[in-house]
């Protein structure tokens, strides 16, 4: 079974809590705390063998474990307050390596205004870091996945393609000009979560739905489409300009890099067209198309052609 089949089966076996404010499968889980407030929770496991690319230090890997879970909070517009870190450590790590892990966790937590307040330490065959975030928000603030509306604009918080290009450089030995190479590697080794952007948009109630893009832009659009019962017409490919030029010159498919890459942490959001101006006054936002009522149909218009976007992205256990 692949990751998605596993998730479907495991969630189907869980008895549902009455009045739970969010369904299984949104970026975070939530519980009502009373007084219109939600406790918001997220756990996210980093496993060295699949999630840590070659050349990434233990400090960066530990930081990344925190950043990927913060990215899910960012998509919901919620600030994480406290973090727990469960460590599975291989035998034989020395003091310097443990120090890298501990300070990487602290640095990432502080970067997003949160604190590590607890955790658990275990022995494991390969480095495993499970991060659990907790935060509190007003129930009306939290942006869901299942509320995109026909006619909305779809937009992203930044260009795509750098991290997938970086992974090609790291894993396939692809050569690239120095400056682009540096940017691409930075986006792999030092990813940033769009927390400031997510909170700015959600706190002003400018969005109708939102998701992060760590499994790739195409997959994120499919998840939004499935949860909300809508379709998408994408008419602008949000590819990084340098990546696009480099890809064209080197016969690399830039559409593929942009749509199906993964390991990117931009937010994919929908909003009413009349909110777009206000939103763009607050954060950098690239409109890439619109929401349609054509349920489950996702198309991309490029160079006068209309292509189907495929429901694929990174999947564990495949």
């Amino acid at each position: 079974m692949g990751e998605r089949g596993v998730i479907e089966l495991v969630t189907s076996l869980q008895e549902r809590m009455k009045g739970n404010p969010l369904p299984f499968g949104d970026d975070v889980a939530a519980i009502r705390l009373g007084g219109g407030r939600l406790g918001v929770l997220k756990c996210d496991m980093l496993v060295e063998a699949t999630d840590v690319p070659p050349g990434m230090s233990l400090w960066q890997a530990s930081r990344k474990a925190v950043v990927s879970s913060v990215s899910d909070f960012a998509a919901k517009g919620v600030r994480p307050k406290v973090i727990l870190a469960s460590l599975g450590l291989p035998k034989g790590l020395g003091e310097d390596e443990i120090r890298q892990i501990g300070s990487g966790l602290n640095a990432a937590a502080r970067e997003y205004g949160a604190y590590i307040i607890g955790g658990d330490t275990n022995e494991a065959e390969c480095l495993t870091i499970d991060i659990c975030l907790f935060g509190v928000c007003g129930e009306k603030i939290l942006v869901r996945r299942d509320t995109a509306k026909d006619g909305d604009v779809v937009a992203v918080t930044g260009p795509f393609g750098l991290a997938p290009l970086g992974l090609k450089i790291i894993k396939e030995g692809l050569e690239a000009p120095q400056e682009l190479r540096a940017r691409a590697l930075e986006s792999v080794y030092m990813p940033k979560a769009r927390l400031v952007e997510g909170v700015a948009l959600a706190s002003r109630r400018l969005l109708t739905s939102s998701i992060d893009s760590s499994d790739g832009l195409a997959w994120s659009l499919y998840e939004l489409a499935r949860a909300s019962g809508v379709g998408f017409e994408i008419d602008r490919l949000p590819v990084d300009g340098d990546v696009e030029r480099f890809a064209l010159e080197n016969n690399i498919d830039h559409v593929d890099l942009t749509l199906y890459g993964g390991e990117e942490y931009e937010l994919v959001v929908t909003l009413s067209p009349r909110m777009l101006g206000r939103a763009r006054g607050k954060v950098s936002l690239i409109p890439i198309g619109r929401v349609t009522g054509d349920v489950g149909r996702l198309t991309l218009r490029v160079e006068g052609k209309v292509l189907d976007i495929e429901p694929k992205g990174y999947e564990h256990l495949r």
Copy 2:
């Protein structure tokens, strides 16, 4: 570095959150929610290679992952409300195995009145289940580790020795009479968290301190002693009667089984002597000795001799 050295180094690297109601190293972490309420959090990672004994099914392993974290909530007197489960799964698990994991998680959550409301799925070399619990309690209800007082009674919620005997049966092929064997295996494969007992004692504010005993009775006493700055005089070894008889007949050290076993989930609590009667009217509680002002000194009086209790117990990465 062993587990305890790792924990010390990693926690020393974390910037402290001001006004955090619990120090690092208590059984749970907590955050103030306002109105005198605490949000209580715990994560606990189960790794197949070290935490799943031979013969334990995936259903039981998944249930155990939840039970061990519930045990920490039990020690604090807090009911878990919701649970997140991060799964690290080896490739190639089939539908039946995933079903066992999913239903084991649900069964354990429901056994303790909680619900699984989210999680994460990943690929890992060996089965890894990180459980994150969340609950809410009044700030004055939560029982700490660092508040045992000279003159208090120390007591446990049940006898020790069954699970360590069970592990000897499973791992060393030790033979035991059928009924004892069944009880010992049950305590390994189907551990129970003392949530009802912990909540009953804490909600009536009967305890001065509390800890669970999953790293062994001796280790738990040392943790309480260290956190509270006290010592313990134990004058009654809380060994299961059948285990004691069997151990004496078979030349097994029953003191060792009782003090240094681990994988047991009784609560170790301290309380004022004048609360003991009331506490025992509510839950089954075995007084085993008293708290002293002799900081860090832990002794056991058996058969007229006074032995030092050693600061040892199960430790990962050793």
